[in-house]
Symmetry: C2
């Protein structure tokens, strides 16, 4: 299906029954080395996670906070694809750079007044195509209002955590 | 370096100069297919992102919101490793399951009162080892207070977005 066909099919399915809008994404993870993690998604993919040597790992793969930035940068790029189609804006290229500042005193508990995660994130989006700049500004506003991972960064998500032992 | 050596080296480096606690993580992304994204991390890794067929992609890799769950599940697992070492708690196995609920009406703009990202996330952590249950409960509290990606899910991160065209 083309992106426009996906948009139309989704609108029809949701109009027929709002329950069709409810998606559940899943992943499973196991610590398989000092810091190496084997991850499996509900969609059938296997992903490796690790820390760099400076954090005790083997650097065989990106670390968790890098995957969070990958989630954000790629979500922006794909949301540009969908919303350009939805708004009828011609778009030829999308490149996204992401930087995240993290003060490691939070993670290590050296200073518990420092948050453990990112203190600030910068997104630099480069677009190319034949439209006027104003159309791409309009597109960027629509993308930022509808990008799932930008929403995750910008707003709290309720997380229910349970542990079992043994 | 062992995890304990990393913790001690980081404490010494930060005590010598607080600037040593400031880390910057980076990634670059390019839309290379309908929904396929090629991502590169500052640490030298290449990661592919894609959407499933139902969302117009080729399902060659996890999608952005799945990578966000991978970031969370793997960050929990690795934070268990570090904080077990820091608290002197023996820990043999860590498994983490993550589920995230997402109402696609937000992403598609079918209903702008629906947030585009996760409405709720569930974390199920399974620990194994020789300690009393109370010690693992203590560990889980320390992990949740210091896990960088759980912080990202739980609290807003300021994101500065700029676009350039052409």
């Amino acid at each position: 299906m083309s992106v426009i066909e996906v948009i139309e099919a989704t609108r029809s399915a949701v109009a027929a029954d709002a329950k069709n809008a409810q998606a559940v994404f899943r992943s499973q993870h196991e610590l398989v080395g000092v810091t190496e993690v084997a991850s499996f998604t509900g969609s059938g993919h296997r992903v490796t996670v690790d820390e760099p040597e400076a954090l005790g790992g083997g650097n065989v793969a990106p670390n968790p906070v890098e995957y969070a930035l990958i989630a954000l940068g790629s979500c922006q790029a794909i949301t540009y694809r969908f919303w350009a189609a939805q708004l009828g804006i011609a778009l030829e290229g999308v490149q996204v750079e992401v930087e995240g500042d993290l003060d490691v005193r939070g993670f290590f508990g050296i200073d518990d007044s420092v948050r453990p995660g990112f203190g600030a994130v910068r997104l630099r989006v480069r677009l190319s195509g034949p439209e006027d700049a104003g159309r791409y500004e309009e597109l960027a506003k629509a993308v930022d209002a509808h990008c799932p991972v930008l929403d995750l960064f910008s707003n709290p998500v309720p997380v229910d955590r349970q542990i079992s032992i043994g």
